[in-house]
Every structure is written in structure tokens, then in C-alpha cells.
Symmetry: C2
Subunit: 318 residues, 2 copies
């Protein structure tokens, strides 16, 4: 049986991973599988850090970032700070077909999307707006720091032809400054893929992730023969340590990887959920923690965790 | 004698390299040396691809990109698609001090710059506007492709304390689409530096450079013990070959590198000038070409070359 697979960051990606599995079984390309996976996350209104329902910047404006890379050709497309387009990942995929101007920001990215017939949509939901309003009040009352949520969906897919693709989509840091962009749309930091080796993608504090180019490094280590798990452990924990020594602290960082044999791995310096389905792994939501001696502890999430999660993300906002 | 050095892309960087040398001799930091080097290029009106005098996008609007990285702390700051700020490199340097929101695009980047007291300036010169107008006419008359000039200034500096910094500044592709961003402001692609190893920076077709993360890769190879020249040759020619095989073609790419011993190297797949001054290299403008067997041919530019260059960049625009 030919290897195939899909892996993506956070529990929120699970429905997308299931959709990617179905598509790959139907001989769909890794490109379609990856785009579809991420669109599922972008479209679901209760995920607060990606696409529709994402939380806005400090001015209440929802700005989104996304990128798409084809591991056969190394073609790369990205958008940053794009507003009110239904699926930023689809803009990034279309841009990856362009020889020039394949990374665009702001209104230029939006105009490209509209010129290609992609759907316009008001992406700020009433729920997200209410969360933002409450946060503005809390910050004013208690002099709190802005919340640093930053749950990018990052995905890698491998189809039955051996083609691999990586993609990311994020609304970035909640309460971010206008025009702030994290690592998600940047090649080597947010994502990297080479079908002759494998792919990787990141989530966490973009400001720190872009200091490390960990997605590129993990792919490179897999190219040296390391398993995805060993590559993730080696790259992530060494860089976490380096940042603490040199920068004084290291923000959250969680990486997922998949190689072209359908083997996968993850590493993280925080609690981190992810979803994976491959030729040898049934579709599963796992939870990972940093383990001893620069390893990663990985187990299936419990039904109790899943129920608490669903209750949390759909709880009424007073 | 303690090693020190400054290297930067293109002949246009030479005055900046001379200024960096003076500063480093006066015990200035690698940060100040790098910022000053790049400001010299940004401020000179006859350099068409960086800062003041840079050529605009297809709508006649000058959008600029810049980044700044400190190799002691790995702190990274960047801006993209910023308009009418005198020195984008200074915005990037200030952003590199921020723990959050250290990469900003468009109006958000500009507002940050103004909030920090950085100078506002109309960056589109009459000369650049005239070149753009002529190009628009030529494209209409002859169905030409837009010109793909993309001469980023990318620099690496090493001060007498062993601190290293890398920076880039670019107005990007002439006639680019609105909001287009190249590799220049992206960590790992446009620049990367680690004071325990060295630094590297890129110029060329950003769309292709960001497929490769070559600045990161060159620093990594130097960390494995390769000389800057060997690291540049190994990374650049392998990736050029890979892109031709996998993507079908490879755009212009030229990389410069400096290690923390003041040794330097470059590699390029086109004619490429650069400037360097170190503890053992007198300030010199060199010209480089791809050589045989994945090596680089490097020689000093001739006085004739320099004169022709100066005449070309200052020639009247009819």
C-alpha cells in the first residue's frame, strides 16, 4: 500500500484532516487535500484564531495571514494582513501559481483574491467582536497585557502519488497591533515542504518562531535521515534552549512534521493538540507535552478533554 | 587584532560599507554599523531599488520592505509594503526591540514608525516617477513584461565585541503588483545571523529566494565549519540546480556571507557586485560571476566598470 498522510496543528484541524483523508483516498492531490483541510478550519465560526470567527487586532479589525507551498516544485504563495476574504488559504494557493508577485499583503492581496473570483465575506463575527469588546474593557480596567493567543492551523499532506504540500492560515495574535504579521505566512518559519523529503509547519508565538526557521530545519533534518519525531525533537528543543539563553525567554512553539513515507512527529514547549491520519495511523487527535531529555510526550486526547474543549469554545459570551 | 567586518550586496553599498568601517573602528556596535550602512543606500537618490529614489509598483506607488536581525539575541524586526518613511531599516531596527508585533506591514508599519519619531518623507522622486511613466508607455506600446530589477541592499556587520547583525532594505520588484513583497524582509530567506557563527543576506528574485531559505542555510553550513565561501557555494549552486529541475527555472540569486572571524564569501547565478571591508580586506568593490564546478569567480571591479555604472545610474531620463 502506498503511504499517504495528513497532519495538522490543534484539535480544531481534525475535521479538516478527516476531509483530507477522504480526498486522498479518492486520488485527490496533496494540494486539494491541504487546501480543503485548512478551509474547514477557516470556515468554522467557533475557532477564534483562524478565518471566519477569528479574533481581531486591537482596533477590532480582523487581519489574516496564510501561505501555501508545493513540495514537488517548491512553488510558494503567501498573503498577510488580508481582510474579508472567505478563504485566505485559497488566495495563497492561487498566488503559489504565480512566477512573480506570489506574496502579497493588505489591500493588494485582497484585490488579487477578488480578481480571481474568490469569495468576499465579512469575517468578523458578532461573537468575535463581543470577545474583543470585553477584552478592551478588561485591559482598560485592569491594565492587563493583551492576550497572546496564536493558534495557527498548519498542515502537511502527502497524496498517493508521493506529492507533498504544506499550508498555514491564521488571524494572528489577538489584540495585535495593526499590520502585525507572525511567522505563519513565511517560508521556512511557518511552513516548508519538499516532496523528496517531507514537510513541517509551526504554531506559536510568531515573533519568536521567525527567529528560528524551524520548519525548514526540520525538513532538512529529515533529509539527513532523521525520523520526523527525531527531527522535531532535535530542532525544537535546541532552539527553545537557545532562545532562553540568548533572548532571555522563548514563546510558545509547536511543530508538526510528516515525511514522504507517511511517518510523522511533533515537538512543543507547551501543551499542544494536533490531528493526524496516515496509511498506518487511524485519524486521531493527540495531545503533546514537552517530555524529559528533549523528547515529546504524546497521547490520545480523552473524551473528557474533547467535551471540555467543545464547551469552552462554544460557551456563551456575556 | 580583533576581527571585524562589513559586507553588503551591490556596488551601491560601498559608501555604506566605508561608513560602517569608520563606525566599527570607533567602537560602534554592529547594530549601528549595519543601520548606518543601509541608511546610506536608502538615502542616495540614484539607487533605483532601495529607499529614496526607488522605483514604484505598477500603480506608481513606492512600497518598501526592510528587516533587521541581531545575532547576539536573535531578535528580529521587519516591515513590508511601507510608504513614505525616510529609512525603513530604522523602522525594522526599532521593531526588533519589540517582544510582540515585531513585524508589521502597510499602514500599521508606517504608523509605528511615526509614533517612534522616525522621519516622514515623500520617497518617490521625480526621476523615479519619470522612469515609471516611460515604462508604462513602453509596456503599453510593446506588450513588454514588467522589468524584473530587484537589487536589495543586504548587509552583515561584525563589530570589535564579536556582535553580528544583518539587515536588508528594498523597494522590491519594479512594476510589482500592489502589496507584493519579496524575500528581503523574511528571516532565513532575505537575511539571517547568529553571532556565534556568522550571517548572510540575499538579493535577487524574491519569489524564488523564499523557496530556499538560503540565508539560514548558509549560516547553518558555516556553523558546521565551512568557510563563508564554501557555505555560499554549497547552498546557492545546489539550490539553483534544484529549482531548475523542480520548478523549471531559477531567478537571479546572489548571497553574501560573513563569519565571526571576519572571513567572507559570496555566490551568485548572475553578474553580481558587492562591497566588503574587514580586518584583513581593504574596502573593495568586487564583481562576481558563477564559476566552474559550483564555484564563484570574484575579482575587483575595474575603474571602467565603475565609471560606466555611475554614468548609467545618473544618465538623464528623456
Amino acid at each position: 500500500m502506498k503511504p499517504w498522510g495528513a497532519i495538522a496543528t490543534w484539535r480544531m484541524a481534525h475535521d479538516g484532516v478527516l476531509a483530507a483523508k477522504e480526498l486522498i483516498h479518492q486520488q485527490a492531490s496533496a494540494e486539494l487535500a491541504c487546501e480543503t483541510l485548512i478551509k474547514k478550519v477557516e470556515d468554522y465560526p467557533f475557532y477564534k484564531s483562524v478565518g471566519y470567527g477569528g479574533l481581531p487586532n486591537e482596533l477590532g479589525v480582523l487581519e489574516m495571514d496564510a501561505a501555501f507551498m508545493n513540495g514537488d516544485t517548491m512553488a510558494f504563495g503567501g498573503v498577510a494582513s488580508i481582510q474579508d476574504i472567505k478563504n485566505p488559504i485559497s488566495v495563497a494557493r492561487l498566488l503559489s501559481k504565480e512566477k512573480f508577485n506570489s506574496f502579497r499583503v493588505g489591500e493588494g492581496a485582497r484585490e488579487f483574491a477578488l480578481s480571481q473570483g474568490l469569495e468576499e465575506k465579512t469575517m468578523l463575527t458578532n461573537r468575535a467582536k463581543r470577545i474583543w469588546e470585553k477584552r478592551v474593557e478588561e485591559i482598560e480596567e485592569h491594565q492587563l497585557d493583551p492576550y497572546d493567543g496564536h493558534d495557527t492551523v498548519g498542515a502537511v499532506t502527502l497524496d498517493l502519488n508521493g506529492s507533498m504540500v504544506a499550508g498555514t492560515s491564521s488571524s494572528g495574535l489577538f489584540m495585535k497591533k495593526k499590520g502585525r504579521v507572525g511567522d505563519s505566512p513565511f517560508s521556512g518559519s511557518g511552513l516548508y515542504v519538499d516532496s523528496e523529503i517531507g514537510g513541517a509547519s509551526a504554531t506559536g508565538l510568531g515573533e519568536d518562531l521567525m527567529k528560528g526557521c524551524l520548519s525548514y530545519e526540520i525538513v532538512r533534518l529529515m533529509g539527513e535521515g532523521l525520523s520526523p519525531q527525531d527531527a522535531c525533537d532535535k530542532a525544537v528543543y535546541a532552539f527553545d534552549q537557545k532562545l532562553k539563553e540568548r533572548y532571555g525567554k522563548a514563546g510558545a512553539m509547536s511543530l508538526v512534521a510528516l515525511n514522504n513515507q507517511g511517518e510523522w512527529g511533533v515537538a512543543t514547549n507547551v501543551e499542544f493538540t494536533f490531528s493526524v491520519a496516515t496509511s498506518t495511523t487511524e485519524p486521531t487527535i493527540y495531545i503533546a507535552y514537552p517530555g524529559p531529555n528533549q523528547t515529546t510526550d504524546i497521547s490520545e486526547v480523552t473524551p473528557e478533554w474533547l467535551e471540555a474543549y467543545q464547551n469552552r469554545i462554544t460557551a456563551p459570551i456575556d
